[in-house]
């Protein structure tokens, strides 16, 4: 199908079917049946086998019509991509539609207290007893685990295999007695994440993805989609601005999904607040403050333009240059410098938080949130390793843990 044909067909279908008065699930069920909700998916599974290049065309028509798309919140799309790649037909039938309609929500159970940067070092154990998997262990940094119906679980099934070969990947029912979810409070007062305690939690044998021992391969599928889609969550979060039941329900869905991310603008340093704060406080009259703001803006603007440069090159179909791998580290530097500049501008105001503090406490929140940027989603150190090894092709660190049985690998005994 060429672009014009796609455009015409989508527009026609939307004209005939889109109705903001529908309930969100009702509309999305219809949408999934049509294949236009995820047109690049297989026709067999709610899609239309359309090439990736034509997806923006479909999205444009949706935007023109003001039509709402399928549910897209973060972990949900990772779950779908992973199930599409590795799931059985039974799993696809059971999960994919309810992912698209937004009826089921998902969480990711990879990180553990003892393995932060080192995901493959997971020690949560799954043992096959009788006719089912019994899972014990602890997971952390799980967003929205308290709301999720299903979890993507990485667990160790073989301690005599090497680190990466002893892992398996399961879909776990989060609403069972063996799963306890506790909020994990952060230093900035928010609790965006959860700890998940798994105590004799049960997974039926048919809920493994791929095969026993193949969990690392499946995990990489999820992580790859996570890296690719890092921006998706935030851009989607803008929602659609209209009147009608579907719009109302979508806004409520967005509000719930975005709740854990409320402090994310602050952890990014709120560069946008710097000039207004400096002007409001009069600090802008100090040449030293101007220098520091200048330094920050040079870095922030350069980082922004670097991201745009990478995006443009990608759109033009050029091979990815080094500029494409630098975003996370750049953001981290920008956030850290922004926190310093906010401190400088605030002066004594940096002593205060909440309504007593500058910008109604927003500056204090920046200071206490920024440390997350250089840690979450891969520390700065891991980012530098990745840039050095993948982009600059520098030698990898000699591995000390991947060749022997995992039970012999030194690991944390306390968390």
């Amino acid at each position: 199908m060429n672009e014009a044909a796609v455009r015409a067909e989508v527009a026609g279908w939307l004209k005939a079917n889109w109705d903001p008065a529908l309930g969100l699930v009702e509309w999305r069920t219809k949408l999934a049946a049509s294949g236009w909700g995820v047109p690049h998916w297989p026709a067999q599974w709610h899609g239309r086998d359309l090439s990736d290049g034509l997806v923006p065309v479909v999205e444009e028509e949706f935007a023109k019509a003001g039509a709402i798309g399928v549910a897209k919140a973060g972990i949900r799309t990772l779950a779908a991509a992973t199930i599409l790649a590795h799931g059985t037909d039974m799993q696809k039938a059971k999960y994919l539609l309810r992912i698209l309609t937004g009826e089921d929500t998902w969480c990711q159970l990879f990180s553990e207290p003892g393995s932060g940067s080192d995901v493959a070092g997971a020690v949560t154990r799954a043992e096959f007893r009788g006719n089912q998997w019994v899972v014990n262990g602890q997971k952390v940094w799980t967003t929205s685990a308290h709301k999720a119906h299903w979890g993507l679980l990485l667990a160790r099934t073989d301690w005599d295999a090497t680190k990466h070969r002893g892992l398996s990947y399961f879909i776990i029912d989060m609403k069972q007695p063996g799963v306890t979810v506790q909020p994990l409070r952060q230093m900035n007062g928010y609790a965006s994440f959860n700890q998940v305690f798994l105590t004799d939690a049960i997974v039926p044998p048919e809920e493994i993805l791929s095969s026993v021992g193949d969990g690392w391969t499946v995990t990489n599928t999820t992580l790859m989609h996570e890296r690719r889609g890092a921006d998706g969550l935030r851009s989607w979060a803008s929602g659609t601005d209209g009147a009608g039941r579907a719009y109302d329900e979508e806004r409520a869905e967005i509000a719930t999904t975005m709740e854990p991310y409320r402090w994310y603008p602050q952890r990014a340093g709120r560069v946008d607040l710097v000039m207004p704060q400096a002007v409001a406080s009069g600090a802008i009259d100090d040449p030293v403050v101007r220098q520091e703001i200048g330094r920050l803006l040079v870095m922030a603007k350069s980082a922004e333009w670097t991201a745009r440069r990478a995006r443009t090159a990608k759109e033009q179909g050029k091979p990815q240059g080094p500029e494409g791998s630098l975003g996370k580290l750049a953001s981290s530097n920008v956030a850290r410098m922004a926190a310093r500049v906010h401190t400088l501008i605030a002066g004594a105001g940096a002593l205060l938080a909440g309504p007593d503090g500058p910008a109604d406490g927003m500056v204090a929140e920046v200071l206490l949130s920024v440390p997350a940027t250089s840690i979450a989603g891969g520390t700065d150190e891991i980012q530098r390793n990745i840039i050095a090894e993948r982009v600059l092709k520098m030698p990898r660190e000699p591995s000390e843990d991947t060749k022997k049985p995992f039970r012999d690998v030194p690991r944390n005994t306390v968390s």
Partner: protein
């Protein structure tokens, strides 16, 4: 100038470290920081009863032990290590310092013994809403009222200002900048605790409406003594800060040694080793400046104002930088509420701003030094 601690001082420090480790574990810090005052009179009395820390630098004639800044710097460094929740800085550094520098003999005899014993908790209120640390920004007005004085205006960022028994207040009198003492419970004084970034150290805003006050020293004579108190406070806070920074550094090192990733201790990764080497360097340099500045106060050095600013600037950068690194070294866990690192991080950020940030103190230091440079430029 002394560059090393005497055996007596070393012993004092190690006793104090043991004592404070026992009395002020993180659990106790967390308990006290959730209280409104941020400290408890019982615990405060016990600490003072046993070691008499508030008395350290108060002369024997006024009920103190008569030691110097060197000894008080040790006290503060050790308190900074454990984030002791107590009104020590407000009472034994700020208020005692103001009374010692500005008060008459009679006033010292009347006010200092209570502070020395810990029975009276005092503080100093100098800066106002704008957060300008310079004395000439003082707007709070003092007017004569018969034999006494009345104060009208406000103060902010006052350490333990909502819980202190006695408040030394910097005000503008008809005769110029002057210091006054006011009872914490005085009529017309409205005290509101502020929401401080650092929950282990409480700040207050004070509203004065015709509050009765007693003049401390002579009218219009406060500028010199106040500048001296601020220099002392900068030096002693710098010592407290290097204590906190060193503790953070040690804890981060211990964590790195214990933590395994990729089958090895993360302390073995070269980037971790280099970070720790840099942290050690920065903290040790800041320590030297803090120690030197305390010795300069004792020795009555001429350029003590510049040295005080230097020490505060060094400590500000070192403490904040160490705190940033410490969280990073702990990784995700370091960002959680249950991990203790953020307590020191918040103290670091607050201490950075308290009494003027590094930017303020570098400028102040340069202003002090510029006279010399102009003279030395031709050589």
């Amino acid at each position: 100038m002394k560059f090393s601690f005497s055996p007596e001082q070393d012993e004092f420090r190690s006793n104090l470290r043991r004592f404070l480790a026992e009395r002020s574990p993180a659990k106790e810090v967390r308990r006290l920081m959730e209280t409104d005052a941020g400290w408890e009179r019982d615990a405060w009395r016990r600490i003072n009863g046993e070691l008499g820390l508030t008395a350290v630098r108060i002369p024997e004639a006024y009920g103190g032990h008569g030691f110097g800044f060197g000894e008080q710097a040790i006290v503060l460094e050790e308190m900074g290590r454990v984030l002791l929740c107590a009104p020590y800085f407000s009472s034994a550094v700020l208020a005692a310092g103001a009374i010692l520098n500005a008060g008459t003999d009679a006033q010292k005899a009347a006010l200092l013994p209570g502070i020395a014993s810990g029975a009276v908790v005092a503080t100093l209120a100098s800066v106002e809403d704008g957060g300008d640390w310079e004395a000439d920004a003082t707007r709070l007005a003092a007017t004569r009222d018969g034999e006494s004085w009345r104060l009208d205006g406000h103060k902010s960022f006052v350490l333990d200002g909502h819980s202190a028994d006695l408040i030394v207040v910097l005000a503008m009198a008809p005769g110029g900048l002057s210091l006054f003492t006011v009872a914490g419970a005085a009529d017309g004084l409205e005290r509101r605790r502020l929401n401080s970034l650092d929950p282990t150290r409480k700040l207050a805003r004070l509203e004065f409406r015709a509050v009765q006050a007693a003049l401390l020293g002579a009218e219009g004579a406060a500028a010199g003594p106040f500048a001296r108190v601020m220099a002392e406070a900068a030096v002693l806070l710098a010592n407290e800060m290097v204590g906190g920074a060193d503790r953070l550094r040690e804890d981060a090192l211990a964590y790195a040694m214990m933590r395994m990733q990729f089958g090895r201790s993360i302390a073995g990764f070269q980037s971790m080793k280099h970070k720790h080497a840099d942290m050690l360097l920065e903290v040790e340099l800041a320590k030297s400046a803090a120690y030197f500045a305390a010795a300069a106060l004792d020795d009555g050095d001429g350029d003590v104002m510049a040295t005080a600013s230097l020490a505060k600037a060094a400590a500000s950068e070192a403490y904040t930088q160490t705190a940033v690194h410490a969280i990073q070294i702990h990784g995700g866990i370091g960002f959680t509420w249950d991990n203790d690192t953020h307590l020191w991080f918040k103290r670091a950020k607050a201490s950075e701003a308290m009494f003027g940030d590094a930017h303020f103190h570098r400028e102040r230091m340069m202003q002090q030094m510029m006279g010399d440079a102009v003279m030395g430029a031709g050589s």
